[in-house]
């Protein structure tokens, strides 16, 4: 089939790397050229989206900030998977929260506000809180932390904000879940996530958390979702709340390429092309460490590789502060050895200071 991907980032790149084995062709549409355009069979600009949609048998997306007009056109042609409902919910943080809360999923207490002053008031009432712009925020952008009711940072322009009570969670975790058009649904074992400055630094699996898997299964069923989805959780006390959802393949699932019998990318391609997805088996404990901001020098690369069970993915992007340039998939025969290797990779990439954040 001819599979169209909206967005040309590393997620699309890995979808193509994995999906090509299945005999499909990949067309990529983006306003800029990213790693996925480099290896696509053909790439299109946003302006020529009508031609793109005509060419594709099915259209999927690898990030959320796609113009609604294009998503709607793809949906109207009956070619968009996951469906437009999933990405519509995700277009604004307020809609996402309202949807999740409305369906009875536990989320952190929140308020939707129209101005930053209102948001600050609400935040003050929560004590510790995070104010997030409702649109266009990701990887820690558009987030403003209020501590003990006080905020001293920059003031963003007025727009819709979601104010979330800061939950003193024990840890963040995520579940990758895939569902096909027959309704068959499989979860990967949960991953434990370590974020820093709003960005995922590393994530590894398996983490116990049957309840997270149950929540994931219920959520994709509610959404009548088709494809792979990432769901982030906070563990607070004895329970879990959903932090956010990503209606696409997810950064915390990159290690499924090595640790599992089938990757999140292959599952996504199977699902959106109408094939049955595969029950994932975890062969070895596995995780991912992101390479952010700077590409490691040769010496550092060698140290990472020489640990064994490590695979470096280079997205071949221009280095820029805070930018995800690649990642390392890490596997090990035991969970404790994996955990060691993950921390060692992190130390090689970011120095010993990393230890401060465990």
């Amino acid at each position: 089939m001819k599979i169209g991907i909206l967005g040309s980032g590393q997620l699309g790149w890995m979808i193509i790397l994995e999906g090509r084995r299945l005999g499909h062709r990949f067309l990529v549409m983006d306003s800029a050229k990213g790693p996925a355009s480099e290896i696509a069979d053909k790439s299109y600009s946003n302006e020529s989206y009508r031609e793109f949609l005509r060419e594709c048998d099915v259209v999927t997306y690898e990030f959320e900030n796609i113009p609604m007009e294009i998503l709607e056109a793809a949906s109207d042609e009956g070619k968009l998977l996951p469906s437009i409902d999933a990405i519509r919910i995700k277009k604004k943080r307020s809609t996402e929260k309202d949807y999740l809360a409305g369906k009875g999923f536990r989320v952190a207490p929140y308020h939707v506000c129209g101005t930053f002053d209102e948001a600050l008031d609400r935040a003050a009432s929560f004590g510790d809180a995070v104010i997030k712009t409702s649109s266009e925020g990701y990887d820690g952008k558009g987030q403003f932390r209020v501590r003990h009711g006080q905020y001293t940072g920059e003031r963003p322009v007025d727009q819709e904000f979601v104010v979330e009570k800061f939950v003193p969670f024990d840890y963040e975790a995520s579940v990758i879940v895939s569902r096909d058009i027959t309704g068959t649904t499989y979860c990967y074992r949960p991953s434990l996530n370590f974020n820093y400055a709003g960005k995922l630094r590393y994530s590894y699996s398996p983490l116990r958390g049957r309840k997270m898997e149950e929540i994931a299964l219920r959520l994709v069923k509610e959404l009548d979702y088709v494809g792979t989805m990432g769901i982030e959780f906070f563990r607070d006390g004895a329970d879990y709340m959903i932090n956010e959802i990503a209606p696409r393949v997810h950064n915390t699932g990159h290690h499924t390429l090595r640790g599992f019998s089938v990757s999140q990318f292959e599952q996504h391609v199977l699902a959106v092309t109408g094939s049955e997805i595969i029950k994932p088996e975890q062969f070895v404990p596995s995780g991912v460490v992101n390479i952010i901001g700077n590409w490691p020098d040769n010496e550092a690369e060698k140290r990472i590789i020489s640990m064994g069970g490590t695979t470096i993915y280079n997205y071949f992007k221009q280095a820029r502060k805070g930018r995800k340039l690649g990642h390392v998939n890490v596997c090990s025969l035991s969970f404790s050895a994996l955990s060691e290797k993950i921390r060692e990779t992190d130390r090689i990439l970011y120095g010993n200071k990393a230890d401060l954040f465990f």
Copy 2:
């Protein structure tokens, strides 16, 4: 880099599938179009080989029957890896045997003969023997079995033959070995091979056999080899003899894509591009079952997939009796479960008769 591949079969296809992640471009040259041409950045016919060689930074090969003129031209330009010596040895069975015997590697007793009558005489003196054409034979083609000195089959035209004494071996096994330009060499754990009618039906790993690994290491050093190589062994009694060598990625190494930390294909790309190869770690027992002659129907595919830990590779070739159309990579957490899954996959593909050949 721009990597040229001579040959467009499934081996080249998998080299590209794996190597593209590393940021390389792949150019394929072949007289016909195979699976590798389908996904190459550009493909060339044999006639335009000069242009192809000019375009490539390095040239490698995925099968042996490449016109010598092209190999020599690539070598003269200093672009051919593995070197022309490795493929020259392999061009004729007689040269291969003479090289191996000359270097002191154990091989089955053999004679090189110029006519079929002479070959039959020599075979009779061995009792049980196999007469093989010196050129162009693979996957059981060009082989004539002599039993108890008797031969009743078709007579090939006179040419150079190698007559090999039939060794009542216990089993066939193979080792995949990779070596880079710095001389770093790594073996994968040996695989146990099951052949039928001259073709590999399945192969699985790990098999004990440190001595095979030592032979493999010595051989690639002798050859000053750069790239991945497959070496087939016979186990006879307490020792091993080399059956044949393949100066390229090998069918019995396809499962390195799933079971190991790094695949034979990635190692090959690393080696021929002048990068350091990676120490392979086996994560789980793994193997490969070839899909030969007929593509399994939907029901059979489902049965294979539903076992779990199985990945089907379809080369998207026209089905033809005896043709390798794809393979199944099989992994399992234990060796005994793997062995069961391998046999079950084989049964699904070829029926219960498979049991007769264990």
